[in-house]
Amino acid sequence: MAESSIDVLLKGSSGRTTRGLLRIIILLTIAAAAVASRLFSVIRFESIIHEFDPWFNFRATKYLVENGFYSFWDWFDDRTWHPLGRVTGGTLYPGLMVTSGVIYHILRFLTIPVDIRNICVLLAPAFSGLTALAMYLLTCEMSSSPSAGLLAAAFMGITPGYISRSVAGSYDNEAIAIFLLVFTFFLWIKAVKNGSIMWGALTALFYGYMVSAWGGYVFITNLIPLHVFVLICMGRYSTRVYISYTTWYALGTLGSMQIPFVGFLPIRNSDHMSALGVFGLIQLVAFAEFIRGYLPGKQFQKLLTSMVLLVFGLGFGGLVLLSISGVIAPWSGRFYSLWDTGYAKIHIPIIASVSEHQPTAWPAFFFDLNFLIWLFPAGVFICFQKLKDEHVFVIIYAVLSSYFAGVMVRLMLTLTPIVCVAAALALSAILDNFLVLSKPDPEAVAKASAEDSKSFRSSRSPIVGIYSYFSKTVVTCSMSLYLLMFVAHCTWVTSNAYSSPSVVLASKMPDGSQFIIDDYREAYYWLRQNTPDNAKIMSWWDYGYQIGGMADRPTLVDNNTWNNTHIATVGKAMSSREEVSYPILRQHDVDYVLVVFGGLLGYSGDDLNKFLWMVRIAEGIWPDEISERDYFTARGEYRVDEEATPTMKNSLMYKMSYYNYNSLFPAGQAVDRVRGVKLPAESPQLNTLEEAFTSENWIIRIYKVKDLDNLGRDHSNAVAFDKGLKRKRATKKKGPRVLRTE
């Protein structure tokens, strides 16, 4: 591996050993730095699972650890998607949970009492250390420079584009998937280089692991065939490519089909067809190569042309036929939205409503990659110069992932590894040329020129290079400066942008000390402790996983979003009048409704700001009952104050958010600090729900759904009756004075 490149530079075995050792130490330091920079949130807050999806993964991991692998595999979860339930064991990528489960059991075997939560929290940093090592291996395959691998490892270790998905507590599939992605690519390059069945099989093995871990495995499924396809088109077909590809495809596809969630997709889904097609193609090419050895040129040409036409016609026809007949599933919605960024917004609002599915803003590239982004093209250019098989791979990867990263924010993650590789190639080329102090020996130069003058002009190799100390110093210094700034930028971004658990909010007290706003956990823990174990909680789907994980109560919808209609039902209940919502709530056995309200604190990620998505998703299913237009004023404004439309004011979400809020303020001065407006003086009236709990800063409000009235009245009458009594008494007091005549 790397040793071969050191040989060139070093003489004597002891020097080599020293450098090898140094290299190991550097790599370990890089891995340590990668882990350390991800621990901001643990140090600042605590060892806690972040955000939304990780809470589900955490819950699933706990289930796995408690109930064993087989019941995890067969897990039917009746505590989510009430009343439908979810076949969780068959609809998740188990790689992440199984990985933590295995680590947990190993530690248990060594009787080291580590909490499963801590394993989950620290899994992502640990794997990012491994990613840095895998990156070193991958880049060393690309370049003979001694520094490229180490630079790439260091870049990968601390670049914010990757840290964003792998800080401690961000226990998501990506935590291990990026390591697997990089390592699979390393193995693939190794396989292509050596034409070895062993490396091909290892690629398949890690590909299988990757499939079990992340839906993004499709990227590998398409990239490797594309690489092979391009190689064939470039006329670089060789037995090495044939051996490695067929080994990988056969073993890898079988491996991937072992995951229940993937199942028969690899042979039925359009996303996977390119791999199958290239598999067929490479057989034909191999056959053609074989025939070529036995046939004279002209006949071979004829045969080839006719065969190509025949196969193409048959293949294309078959594909169309199978697609129409439905044997091969059509492209998935998420796939379409990769090509047309407007597709999701029109057809699948639920995908568009997720912020990480939005197209990337340009500054994000610099934010996440800093100076790597301008070294990236240079690195790709260097690949063009060498253009061996592995460099072709880098180029294809670079082009594809650049496009994808531009379409969806979250795909920045797949771009990051190749940017690190390319940038490391470019930077190492610069450093290798500018850091070497030695000048060529004048005698050798003279000798060379003397020799050159004898030979042909074309075979001359004059000694060229940069020998001026000034230019060396300037370039080296500026590069060091860029590197230092890169480190500073990465640390800053990690610390400020990516280390917030989002379950716990931090703010500053006037004296500068940290003040923690812990409303989410306050409310979830209240639910967990003080409601019946099977009380059904309705909330918008964003909070489903958190309620499942922290409050441990059944939910109607969660972040899995597998059933759009069910989500739309919740959206309809939230956005309709009470008279419409109450039957929906009753039908779905809802006991409590949970809303997030940021008005008191100025917390902008609250439900009223997400409300339009609820309306849109509900409108998608019930266009004649819900209309987005009704929630805008005549002038097209989204308002919540006095001027809000009647539909808005009567919607359950609006009522639940502002119910009783005005009593915190002097009369008529209630202010919503998120939307910066003054609210109506009167609190909205709730008839079918009653406030059960409100957290300290009002971020979470929980309402209990009233049972049917004992006297058979509808709720509005019952409430009016109760109110009526009071009002009578009130008017009596304030009534005109009557002279007592007793």
Partner: protein, 500 residues
């Protein structure tokens, strides 16, 4: 801990060395139609019932006379069996010689004819005929206060009721008796007034103390009841811990004593009539109005306690503050639950901290024995008191500790704990941190305790030799050597298919 000197040890040693006192809680079985032999007479009985806390604390001072012709030593105290299980920290002493320590007490199984269960008090020396002894009986009764009304508005006052019999339940004839009730405040909403028990007003009221009696009850048969109910304001939470698990872990290598306590709390006060209103709570908090909800729990720790944590099932509770004290004064942990705990609400949590082991552990000179003195129970210190339905104290001793004995330190006053035969003690082994044998673990289980038992001291003596101490480093060393050797062997196996 400073008092824990060799002399104290010397006093303790003989009794501890005498027997390995690991016991299981036992109850005597009595015949079905058992009636205590009428060999005693209570010449004078005064019952003090303290209602200031969220549980009932009773002290009965009774002058007992032997009316039999033989010397007698077994005195029976009856309780209805549903109350019996809620009686905590039952203790009997000779009122004239409290320093002599508590009397031995046995509990009995239920006697089905009367529905009673008894505590049998064994006098150290049989009481001669015609002679008298003054007994001081003290105990607390858990969960005997019921909130009335059982649902209230969030800012309402809370009232508790307590029902008892004007005649103190006794197995023997009582000549005169009276009951003094001590209320937490002057607001006593309702109380039973007796008419035919004595002349004059009954009860007599004096400030927060109400006195029922004295009654001449020489002719009243033992076991006769005269129900009395009082209802008084108690706008404080009725904090009840279903279960407290307390782990104390001794580490010789680390020189550390780690304590972790897990609580399952519940407020047994009046429930909210409507749901919780944050607006009202914010305003009443602002006015610091008394409330039936738990707002904050103060938790005194011993001086020098470090690294405290306060977590629950979903992580750190950020609303806690630790005041470490200045080394001599005790530290204080101020815990604020995530939400105020109103009546009927639950809250479970975990607190833990570390201490320097040197203050708690002494090696007994010239032997491999160690003496450890730790508090049996610490727990929060609240003015309204806390009742514990069940307490499990687990003492994790170092790996290889053997010959374990324990003793609960007795003083001149009650330590709030029942006698040793009501405490279930077991030894087990607990594997953690690369143990091979597992750590010796002493588990003590007690039912029905109150926070009176705070700071009761537990002394444990065990043997721990150098071999025991070196077991783990050697095991780990051997494990690593084995691993390296295995890797070396595997690395040297040539599995390639090329020609050799």
């Amino acid at each position: 801990m400073r008092f824990f000197t060799a002399s104290v040890l010397g006093l303790l040693m003989p009794s501890l060395a005498a027997a390995s006192n690991l016991s299981t809680a036992t109850q005597l079985v009595l015949p079905l139609d058992f009636k205590p032999p009428q060999v005693f007479k209570n010449t004078n009985l005064v019952r003090n019932t303290n209602l200031e806390k969220s549980y009932v604390r009773e002290t009965i001072n009774v002058v007992v006379e032997n009316v039999d012709k033989q010397p007698q030593s077994d005195y029976y105290i009856p309780f209805p069996s549903d109350v019996f299980n809620r009686v905590g920290g039952f203790e009997v002493r000779d009122k004239k010689a409290t320093d002599a320590g508590r009397f031995e007490v046995d509990a009995t199984e239920i006697v089905s004819s009367s529905g009673n269960q008894f505590f049998v008090v064994h006098f150290p020396e049989p009481l001669a005929p015609k002679s008298q002894i003054t007994l001081g009986i003290s105990y607390s009764v858990l969960n005997s206060l019921a909130p009335r009304p059982s649902v209230i508005q969030q800012n309402d006052k809370q009232y508790l009721t307590y029902s008892f019999s004007a005649y103190v339940p006794s197995a023997y004839q009582t000549v005169t008796q009276k009951t003094k009730l001590k209320f937490p405040g002057t607001n006593v909403a309702d109380y039973t007034e007796t008419s035919d028990l004595k002349t004059g007003a009954d009860p007599e009221r004096k400030g927060t103390t109400y006195t029922y009696g004295p009654y001449e009850t020489a002719k009243v048969a033992p076991g006769t009841e005269y129900p009395i109910t009082v209802r008084y304001e108690f706008t404080n939470p009725v904090i009840t811990a279903h279960l407290l698990e307390r782990d104390v872990e001794v580490s010789h290598w680390g020189g550390n004593l780690a304590t972790e306590e897990r609580y399952w709390l519940r407020n047994n006060g009046s429930e909210l009539a409507n749901h919780f209103s944050r607006v009202e709570w914010t305003f009443s908090n602002y006015q610091k109005a008394p409330s039936s909800a738990v707002r904050e729990i103060t938790y005194p720790l011993q001086p020098g306690s470090v690294d405290p944590y306060f977590t629950d099932d979903i992580g750190n509770v950020s609303t806690s503050r630790y005041r470490p004290g200045n080394g001599k004064t005790g530290a204080n942990l101020e815990l604020k639950p995530r939400y105020p705990i109103f009546g009927g609400w639950n809250y479970s949590f975990k607190v833990g901290w570390n201490n320097d082991l040197g203050r708690f552990l002494r090696q007994i000179k010239g032997s491999d024995s160690y003496a450890l003195k730790v508090p049996f129970l610490q727990g929060p210190k609240m003015s309204e008191g806390i009742q514990y339905e069940r307490v499990v104290v687990r003492l994790v001793l170092p790996e290889g500790a053997h010959n374990v004995r324990y003793e609960l330190v007795e003083g001149a006053n009650s330590n709030g704990l029942p006698s040793a035969n009501q405490i279930q003690a077991t030894l087990s082994s607990f594997k953690t941190y690369m143990d091979t044998l597992g750590r010796t673990t002493l588990t003590l289980e007690v039912d029905s305790l109150t926070d009176e038992a705070r700071d009761a001291q537990l002394v444990v003596i065990y043997d721990h030799t150098l071999t025991d101490a070196l077991r783990k480093p050697l095991t780990i060393f051997a494990g690593l050597v084995t691993t390296f050797f295995a890797i070396w062997v595997i690395g040297n196996i040539d599995v390639s298919i090329k020609k050799r």
